[in-house]
Symmetry: D2
Subunit: 351 residues, 4 copies
């Protein structure tokens, strides 16, 4: 159950309501809903009688009962799909299908520059690139860190493309937010709750990857941590789950798209690159994602994949990316969705 308080209800009154509910056996957690109003959320269900009584309490604006464990992420609480404006007029979750693309890791000024041009030219509306790379081994390339952030910032300024980049710990969110438009929370951190809360407090768009073996329920509950801080700007990203199948690094779970869309109002995009870990699978999986109803893609592109310092096997080349987007537009047409085009066209500019 979610109790939304009236805008004018002050903190003291809110605490009073919470205490009243608690003494009636209904423990609640305080938070803020998308519109900025205070909420009190209970884990368990309440009886119809209790719900009527709560609705009548002074200071209470609305009471919503949501099924399952979902509360603020529930489509029952918020029936229309959330649209997340990520910068430069790009909106995820609206009619337009958004492709974010770029290198797995930012490696150098030259590399990022060439890839950024290529993806903008190819049809990406958002630039991706990791400055902090969470790697299984401490001996693998860990990203350019702060220097990588500066390079992303430069490209954003030059290209106008909004930037998405991963953040690994709460202490870095403020700094990352200066260089990026979307905070990416990686699969390995999906249940890093201090990070989720802090990303919630930032108010910034958050791209929340599904955990390596997270259920859809756990994934939405992770999003719930962000929303509870008053930040509705969550974009979910399916990126493959652990299974026994060895021919792909992970198993892309496209069923998760319609499953999420049925229970939640959050937009969902798909990462066909990290999922399979194979460049040759990116195109069929990307098209399948669009057909299954995804709101966008996150794609690894590199102008020289063989030299990539991270996940070299999965990066598309610039021409492969351009062909993918062409094929994608045909499928999007079949499902009545336009592709959101980048504002900037580097090739045109060069002319």
């Amino acid at each position: 159950m979610i109790v939304v308080l009236e805008r004018e209800t002050d903190a003291v009154r809110a605490a009073g309501i919470s205490a009243e509910l608690a003494s009636a056996g209904v423990a609640t957690t305080p938070g803020t809903e998308a519109g900025g109003r205070a909420v009190l959320v209970s884990e368990r269900e309440v009886s119809a009688d209790q719900s009527t009584w709560i609705r009548g309490l002074p200071g209470v604006a609305e009471v919503t009962v949501t099924p399952g464990k979902y509360r603020l992420t529930s489509r029952v609480f918020r029936p229309t799909t959330t649209t997340v404006e990520v910068g430069a007029g790009v909106v995820i979750g609206g009619p337009g299908f958004v492709v974010a693309a770029g290198p797995c890791a930012v490696e150098s000024a030259g590399q990022l520059d060439s890839v950024a041009r290529a993806v903008a030219d190819g049809g990406a509306a958002v630039l991706r690139g990791g400055a902090f790379k969470p790697r299984s081994s401490p001996y693998s390339f860990q990203g350019l860190e702060e220097h990588g952030l500066r390079l992303l910032e430069e490209q954003r300024d030059r290209t106008g493309l909004p930037v998405v980049t991963e953040v690994l710990e709460p202490a870095w969110i403020e700094r990352v937010a200066k260089s990026a438009d979307i905070l990416q929370i990686g699969a390995r951190n999906m249940q890093n709750y201090p990070l989720l809360r802090e990303a919630g407090r930032s108010g910034l768009p958050v791209l929340l990857k599904r955990g390596l073996s997270a259920t859809v329920e756990e994934w939405l509950l992770a999003a719930e941590y962000v929303l509870l801080e008053g930040n509705p700007n969550v974009i979910l990203c399916e990126r493959g789950i652990r299974s026994y199948e060895p021919s792909t690094r992970f198993t892309l779970d496209l069923s998760a798209i319609p499953v999420v869309k049925r229970v939640s109002h959050l937009p969902v995009i798909v990462d066909p690159s990290h999922s399979g870990g194979r460049a040759d699978l990116v195109r069929p999986l990307a098209l399948a994602a669009a057909a299954a109803g995804a709101d966008g893609l996150l794609v690894d592109v590199h102008t020289d994949p063989t030299s990539a310092r991270c996940d070299a096997d999965q990066a598309l080349t610039a021409p492969e990316f351009a062909e993918l987007v062409e094929a994608l537009e045909r499928v999007l047409y079949a499902v009545d969705r336009p592709l959101t085009r980048p504002l900037w066209a580097p090739t045109a500019e060069a002319v």
Copy 2:
């Protein structure tokens, strides 16, 4: 390695070649390739020298070295995609995308009749329906068995639609083959080797479901049992694999389509019904399968799903099926594939 023998090589000579190879340390298994010539297949690789030597042996037509564990199923052995003619001019694995649809289980003459009309009307080119149902519990409905076969036969005669139905044991193949055009081998029987061999011997089209937790490699090796008997008519069917995710019965592994197509020449279709176990997921998964490059679909349809005696939650109604096919045609157009239409149009006929 696959050694194809010349057509005129007789059994005695073949045995001699096999013995020669064995004494050189190359154990082989005898079989028959698609074109009807005898083959000797080895599990391990041979050296380049050995391969040259074998090529020179009298009676040997060709020697092909295939990577991995794949032999007759390998695209290296047979570079063009296999096309399986399943009856009434319907071909799976060719340019046309083929939808097989019908009830999970044949329940009665009336039920099968109404569903057969509905699916033919909706655009299915093959009729599915289980007469023998492999059920986890012995107390669940096990199918109408022989009576179910007779009902399928009647519908085939009336509608002209080729029929696919499951066979559970070698002893029944001959009988099932009288009533059906395609032998379905279910997920639970993917590693039932006597059944695979016998299906191979029948020469009939075999729809081979992926095992509940089979790797792609195991699945193709299962197909290898059928092919080795000289029967090239295998259609693979991805139907979801076991994972930890509880919101769907199985996790549809669409990556398997491009993975299989890269290593093998066999056609692959997708069952979006048994995969999710949920009617609301059938359409998005079906469209995704088409976009990912599948050669067809196997869809559960029921004119009265709530009364279905088997897997009621996953059946589409007749109108839902018709809408699915409409949406599917748009996606197929985007990927340049025509839908194979049924020869028979019951509604038109009724007029």
Copy 3:
């Protein structure tokens, strides 16, 4: 619900009761319980009222309501653990812990003879050995088949050890039963229902391996197929399940032992060889199985593992097996269970 009929209730009366139940909305499946009495089993639950009414019907001896989907396998129906007498006085499921050991595959008279001596010497009370090997690839060694059966029979005669061997299809059960005391149904065939039914009809002890990705519930429902034919002699065998972990072939699920023992009366043994696929894991996993409450083990032993034609990496040598049994006896002592010793001591005999 299980309705046990009185011994004197004839087939006509039984059919009448079944019809009466059906017309009251309670569909049932006929079968035979362990004691030989006819039963009618329903999949769904019945109301308390219905249950009282059924209890009163002439010809009905007992009505038992069992929780979940379990019926004849349920500990509620049969509270004491089933003991399976497998030959030569060896009982599985009683106080004694039974070790079955031998080669993965029977390879030759000499191999089987040396391994049989070694395992009897080491403390095995049952001889295992596959004559029919279900192999992922048709090019792998498939077993000596009928010749393998004859070799097993010879060893049984010579050593007095009861023999367990796998059977792959219904048509072979009668022949296998001549040479073996326990029919092994392999992981790949756990849901091969015609095979389960036929094994049920044989009345012989059945060793039922857990399917590669079977839930405990599906495993017990598979056993239910055997029990329903009036054959209570089912021994379950946990042999590892599919998971994402690559360092072992399968993941041994020892939790399944206490889970099964809580809901069912069937004995459970463990195969630590096929589970890990690694000889170095057999001992720790075998001891763990004993500590967790297993009723026995199934262990691969080979006197020359490097030459083994099947699963060479997992076979213990004769001395390793003897050491395992020594260590095992200490753990068994800790959990108050004696080891069932073989009747025959080949070394002693040789003296």
Copy 4:
């Protein structure tokens, strides 16, 4: 490859060696080994020639080539099992088997006091209890946080038992270290690299839970992050992995114990409580863990499980815990390991 530098090699010289290696194509990561010497670690292997050359460089003490991806965690680098002294003379990884027990979450002074007494009385040598609880839902009890730490500190002072408690973020390590002897890093944070590094820097014993779907390799690579900071005090804890089986919350992977022990020198304990999520499974799984070679256990105990605010279903009562330890001692005797007894005996004291 691990290059250990001589103790007297200063930072400038170390940087020089690293640069020399890099220019020879061997990229390395700097760190500190257990003994406090600087190391340079490379991800890839080096040739025998290179290794000889590196060994001869001034300032280099040793060069070790380790198989696979393991470096500082490899048993090849450090052949003897690591012993972690966790306080009050308790050592994990030595001959003694150590039981850590206590409530899942610290709930109140009274609760912690009664549970601490019970577990010390029952035979636990370490007290567990979560002050910060990582919960799937933000609406579940999140722990008493700082207040919980104070209560743990009080119990440590009173009972002399070393304390293990979870830490969720780098910023809290210093504070947690004041109240606890062992930093627990939870399954959800196994790949939270900033947290691992900071725990490494603290030099404190770190209990590293296996990630929900981590492979053994990923788990050891996570430990590598801690070791690289010069902190050798890592205790691994197997706590069940994600699988498809629904009868237990996770699937305890006991094979991981011998697998880890073969490749690594780190001690491994087992959490039979979080694994199954069921109190009735704790005892069989705990005994199995001891038989399989674990170095200790982490067990949830509550004096009133039904009132527990976290994971109530899995907590043992005080008497159940005492019985478990009794049974455990018998199994430990069978595998020649003594139980490490707590120094403090509250009941005796009370007398």
